[in-house]
């Protein structure tokens, strides 16, 4: 199968959906001729024009309001917030308005939009351009939260997200944009709320999100040389969460390592751990549930400090080893 990058896969999904459905449009800062800060929307303004690929002033709250209001009257907007950190400037509209409108109105309205935003560290952009804030949105009823880890999932999940009748926060990872993978040329969907076992193994379950899926897969290959077979499960959608796939895996392996980039305290790992501990998998656990997450610090600028702020492949290997062999 043809291989394209994660960024190209997202662009392809946008292009296909905009061709198919004239209600779909793109709006955000520098998404037009500039092509978005990470080049994701490059070339789309040439095909669809400035009426459907709309450059905005630096008004994140305005962007969030624009997609919410337009969705409310029948459009299917795809907004872009340049860095996930800047969602802080849009929170009022996302949390108080978009997420709640349907419920507050007694189920008599829909707000079908996608808000794309790149998260994550590793680019030397320091504390205000590197955060992973997905769990803030997971905590808000009415929003869906998607975090693709591969080009294939990025395209399929984005098509599903655009066609979904709810506000969807679509969290991309900056370091994944240039990663290549097989992606069918024709449109296809990956349904929201379905996890995927990315690698099978019987010794330990690693539940990882976004870029941590990739790092966990690399760790799993190296662990295999030591005789440890790790099963890597990617929830793909944090909300709604496919609990069954995760629980089933943990029941098989009896050990679970949760890996995410976001800060540990209040991160999605806590939710995952509680879901697992509260399920039938509890009876199968041979060891405590372990969370490997970003440190509880702002992301530092210095390259070495930044690198060690969030889980890396070696950290995942070490944590998995400890879990399987007991404390070393």
């Amino acid at each position: 199968m043809r291989e394209i990058t994660y960024a190209e896969a997202i662009r392809e999904a946008l292009r296909e959906e905009m061709r198919r459905d004239e209600r779909v449009f793109i709006i955000g800062e520098d998404v037009g001729v500039y092509g978005g800060s990470f080049g994701v929307t490059l070339g789309l303004i040439e095909e669809f024009g400035p009426q459907r690929v709309i450059d905005t002033p630096i008004s994140e709250l305005g962007i969030a309001g624009a997609i919410t209001g337009a969705a409310l009257i029948g459009m299917r907007p795809v907004g872009e917030i340049m860095f996930m950190d800047f969602c802080t400037l849009a929170m009022e509209q996302l949390v108080n308005q978009a997420a709640k409108i349907r419920f507050m109105f007694g189920g008599k309205a829909t707000v079908p939009f996608v808000l794309r935003t790149p998260a994550g560290s590793g680019t030397g952009a320091a504390a205000q351009h590197s955060q992973s804030l997905e769990n803030w949105f997971v905590h808000v009823p009415g929003l869906k939260v998607v975090m693709p880890s591969t080009p294939y999932d990025a395209k399929g999940l984005l098509l599903s997200a655009i066609r979904d009748d709810n506000p969807v926060i679509f969290v991309e990872h900056k370091l994944l944009y240039k990663v290549k993978g097989p992606v069918p040329e024709d449109p296809y969907t990956v349904p929201l709320g379905t996890a995927e076992v990315k690698r099978q193994g019987g010794d330990i379950t690693i539940v990882a999100t976004s870029i941590m899926v990739r790092r966990s897969l690399e760790a799993a290959e190296r662990l295999a040389h030591e005789g440890i077979e790790a099963e890597v499960v990617d929830p793909r959608t944090l909300k709604p969460l496919d609990e069954a796939t995760i629980i089933r895996s943990v029941c098989r392996t009896g050990r679970v390592l949760i890996v995410h980039e976001a800060c540990r305290t209040g991160g999605f790992g806590g939710e995952l751990a509680a879901v697992i501990a509260g399920s039938e998998a509890f009876d199968y656990l041979d060891a405590p549930i372990v969370r490997l997450a970003g440190r509880d610090i702002p992301i530092p600028y210095n390259r070495t400090l930044e690198y060690h702020s969030v889980p890396q492949v070696d950290d995942i290997i070490a944590a998995a080893r400890r879990l399987v062999h007991g404390a070393a």
């Binding site: 459907r52 624009a66 209001g69 337009a70 459009m75 509209q93 507050m104 109105f105 007694g106 189920g107």
Partner: protein, 319 residues
């Protein structure tokens, strides 16, 4: 401006409906029949009715926390509105929204809003959607003097202006953001002057004169409908009651409140219609009585309506 007899009568009737609804809301709260908060618009009826009466029936309205008047002016069924206020299943939002979130999307009312300034960015989206869909409707966005100092105001007005969106921004300057006087909150005299900063017309209207508000909004609505872009209208008015149920009015004087009550928008409009022969005192009295009767019937409907069933508590979070 030419005024049809029926239109004038209808405007006065709607103003009375608002007054009657608000007085009843206050009474129901005092009787312990509603448990939530509310923000009454008594004294601001001309602003709501003047503005919405200048729209087409299929235009949209975005309202505020002090939104009962906007909702009634947009043609809400008072039974369903009162049922919502009382948290009943038959309410516009099945009792999930309450006073601060009443919406009638089918009727073009895209909702009251619990967040000051919350409707302003939404207006950009609605205006953008209408423009992209090449529809001839416009959206009227109510907000208050308090919201005019929120960042959302700046972002929304600027975006609506650069894209020439079919939006009318209507600032109901009722003199206070809870307790803070507009004189202490804003360094210029007229909020409408801020329009110049966004490249749109700004008009300050007497918000207690229903025809003045109507005229200002009519002009802005025409402009919006023709594709010439948004306008900012400041409707200068006054809320007679406190901000919400917990307000002890410590920040203003009784004399000030009485002075504004002497400029009652309903009395002013009634006197004018009697003076020009549009209606008699008896007609006016009948309109008033009918309004109170409609509200009584709405209370009866709401009180006899079922509560939402607990089994349905999680409905409507997701589509």
């Amino acid at each position: 401006m030419e005024w049809s007899h029926d239109k004038l009568i209808d405007m006065l009737r709607t103003m009375w409906l608002i007054r009657a609804f608000e007085e009843k809301a206050e009474e129901l709260y005092a009787l312990g029949k509603v448990h939530g908060t509310m923000h009454l618009s008594i004294g601001q009826e001309a602003s709501a009715v003047g503005a919405v009466s200048a729209l087409r029936a299929d235009d949209f309205v975005l309202s505020t926390h002090r939104g009962h008047g906007h909702c009634i002016a947009k043609g809400a069924d008072l039974n369903r509105m009162m049922a919502e206020f009382m948290g009943k299943e038959t309410g516009y939002c099945r009792g999930r929204g309450g006073s601060m979130h009443i919406a009638d999307t089918a009727g073009g009312n895209l909702g009251a809003n619990g967040v000051v300034g919350g409707g302003l960015p939404l207006a950009v989206g609605v205006g953008l959607g209408l423009k992209m869909q090449k529809r001839s409707q416009i959206v009227l966005c109510f907000f208050g003097d308090g919201a005019a100092n929120n960042g959302a105001f700046h972002e929304a007005l600027n975006m609506a202006a650069i894209w020439k969106l079919p939006v009318v921004f209507l600032c109901e300057n009722n003199q206070y953001a809870i307790s803070l006087s507009v004189k202490k909150a804003i360094a210029i005299e007229h909020i409408a002057d801020r329009a110049a900063a966004y490249g749109m017309p700004g008009i300050t209207a007497d918000g207690n004169d229903v025809l003045a508000v109507h005229e200002a909004v009519s002009q802005a609505a025409s402009r919006a409908r023709e594709g010439a872009g948004p306008s900012l209208i400041e409707s200068v008015t006054y809320r007679w009651r406190g901000h919400s149920k917990s307000d002890a009015n410590r920040y203003r004087t009784r004399d000030e409140i009485e002075a504004w009550k002497a400029r009652c928008p309903i009395q002013r409009f009634t006197a004018r219609l009697i003076a020009d022969g549009t209606l008699t005192e008896e007609d006016a009295d009948k309109l008033r009585q009918e309004a109170y009767a409609v509200v009584e019937a709405a209370v009866a409907f709401a009180e006899s309506s079922p509560e939402p069933r607990l089994e349905t508590i999680e409905e409507g979070v997701y589509a």
